[in-house]
């Protein structure tokens, strides 16, 4: 558990937020893949063809650079992130 970093994920379409434990050296892109794997086809319908997902700090409007590592963002433990469809 000590190697894993806790994030709170708010995935578009889901009924509530989820806890995701991630490797702090993983990129946000990888976090998105983990979230997709856990939630699409479980609580959220398959995404429309060509849907791009972006990540934001919960409540903010600017997308984060998803190629960067989790550790690079200075997230606090249990930071909430929105994973939403890019418009």
């Amino acid at each position: 558990m000590s190697e894993q970093f806790p994030l709170v994920i708010n995935f578009q379409g889901d009924y509530g937020m989820k806890l995701l434990l991630v490797d702090p050296q993983a990129t946000l892109d990888h976090v998105v893949e983990l979230a997709k794997d856990a939630l699409i086809g479980v609580v959220v319908k398959p995404l429309p063809e060509g849907t791009k997902l972006i990540v934001r700090r919960h409540g903010e409007s600017s997308p984060l650079d998803s190629s960067k590592k989790v550790a690079d963002f200075g997230f606090v433990k249990m930071e909430a992130l929105d994973i939403v469809h890019s418009v």
Binding site: I9, G16, A38, L39, V44, K77
Partner: protein, 498 residues
């Protein structure tokens, strides 16, 4: 020898205050336990409870009630009834008997503290009977529940629940410890008797009783009604208390207590009664929707009582409470079904085609919101992918409710959390109201770890079974789908046709 009529001696007999000679008033009634609001003793002695009862009358009445309730139980063949009951009804019974008895049991001591530390003699008198009432409630609900222990292991949770750290129980304990057990007698009484008991107990004990009678579960219906008859009496402790607080110029304090307690207890009853009424009760036996019961018991009756006392609608009523009535329990039901293994009762989905039509009728927009999640779950069930109906990641919990942090799903997706950072720790809240409550007394709440906090902190045993071990839930104790996925069969023909 002629006997005095009760009305000729009752008021005098209950005037049990005296001026202490050997201890100070503060020693006798420590403010932190009794009255931190500085109301004068003269005002406390004006406490006038609407329903008065003597001990002799109490014993006689309660005995008659018990004869009535227990005889109904004896007359009906309960084991046979249970075996023939629909899965949703079984879910209701399993859920109720695990989650309610220990709260009743805890209330015995809450009333006992009012008996000892209440400055108003009438309040002490009523609270004494309140303790006896709650003793009865704990006993009757454990006794009725235990009849089924041979039918399903879930009924062991009538006794087991408070001795575990099951996440549902943690949530309940946090709420009712806050409202009933960790405040002075005045605050506890306002929060418990007025906001909790008058506000919400009708939902689980009258509304559900109506559904039970309609279902033919006369024993459960009688049990619920007899419990509520006591509630109607001892919950009136709160009203004269609030009247005195307002006369003493303490309206703001009384209002805050009601605002805090109402919301906290609302969340508990939304999950318990909302799911029971709108999803577990067999469709043909539903008297009303949960929202319709709320409109009657809470939005009409309780609000009328609140206004009559001179208090205001809680500040969050229009913007947060009313929308929540049509939303919260729907989201909680999804979580309760998906994470059913973490609960002691078997959960039913309650979303067969006919049930979905009913939900859409009663909650327009349900299909485009919560229905979108159920579409995914339904597909998995039809494909036999049962493992995908149980998520591999944990839900996030609100740090006030201790329940899942939820919102609106699907096409109108709207899930929001607010947060506070205190001493290097982030707290999340499912609504501005939950955050506001926390901010009233951060020191009261900040030390508590939700179930999810404990998981993150490594307080649970390692491995996939760690959370279950933490909750003292071996494999046989975990909830399953109550009708073995039959609820989805109504979609199979539709799926093929499409």
């Amino acid at each position: 020898m002629g006997m005095l009529a009760t009305r000729d001696w009752y008021d005098l007999a209950r005037q049990t205050n005296w001026t202490p000679k050997y201890v100070t008033d503060a020693d006798f009634f420590p403010p932190d336990f009794s009255d931190p609001y500085g109301v004068s003793i003269d005002m406390w002695e004006e406490f006038d409870e609407p329903y008065k009862v003597t001990y002799r009358d109490y014993v006689q009445t309660q005995r008659e009630k018990d004869v009535g309730a227990y005889s109904v139980k004896s007359a009906t063949s309960r084991s046979e009834f249970y075996r023939k009951a629909e899965p949703g009804w079984k879910s209701i019974l399993q859920f109720h008997f695990g989650s309610v008895p220990f709260v009743e049991y805890g209330s015995i001591s809450a009333f006992a503290r009012m008996t000892r530390f209440g400055k108003a003699p009438g309040m002490r008198n009523m609270a004494t009977f309140g303790s006896l009432d709650e003793t009865r409630h704990a006993q009757i609900q454990m006794f009725f529940g235990y009849e089924f222990i041979g039918e399903h292991r879930a009924f062991d949770w009538a006794q087991k629940a408070p001795n575990t750290d099951n996440w549902v129980v943690i949530s309940e304990r946090h709420c009712f410890d806050d409202v009933e057990h960790t405040r002075d007698s005045v605050s506890s009484a306002i929060m418990t008797n007025f906001a909790f008991e008058q506000g919400f107990t009708n939902l689980q004990f009258i509304a559900l009783s109506a559904d039970a009678k309609k279902y033919g579960d006369y024993s459960f219906s009688a049990m619920l009604q007899t419990v509520q008859s006591d509630e109607a009496r001892h919950s009136q402790i709160g009203e004269p208390l609030i009247e005195i607080m307002l006369r003493a110029g303490r309206k703001e304090e009384a209002q805050r207590l009601v605002d805090i307690s109402f919301w906290r207890v609302w969340k508990q009853f939304s999950a318990l009664s909302g799911v029971s009424i709108d999803y577990y009760t067999p469709l043909d036996r539903r008297e009303h929707s949960f929202k319709e019961f709320i409109d009657n018991f809470v939005c009409t009756q309780f609000l009328r009582n609140l206004n009559a006392l001179g208090l205001d609608k809680p500040w969050y009523w229009d913007d947060y409470f009313l929308p929540d009535v049509s939303a919260y329990h729907h989201a909680q039901q999804i979580g309760m079904y998906l994470y059913r293994a973490t609960q002691w009762w078997d959960a039913v989905a309650g979303v067969s085609p006919r049930e979905r039509a009913w939900l859409e009728e009663k909650y327009p927009g349900w299909t485009d919101t919560y229905g979108q999640v159920w579409d995914v779950i339904t597909e998995n069930v039809l494909a036999g992918n049962y493992d995908r109906t149980e998520p591999k990641i944990l839900p996030m919990f609100c740090n006030m409710t201790g329940l899942e942090l939820t919102g609106v799903a699907g096409k109108k997706w709207d899930v929001k959390a607010l947060h506070l950072d205190i001493d290097g720790r982030r707290y999340h809240f499912g609504s501005p109201v939950d955050k506001w409550i926390f901010e009233q007394e951060p020191d009261r709440y900040k030390g508590h770890l939700s179930f999810i906090d404990r998981f993150v902190a490594g307080l649970m045993p390692a491995g996939p079974d760690g959370p279950f071990e933490y909750m003292n839930m071996p494999a046989g104790d975990r909830g399953v789908c109550g009708d073995n996925y039959k609820w989805a069969e109504g979609y199979r023909g539709r799926a093929a046709a499409e």
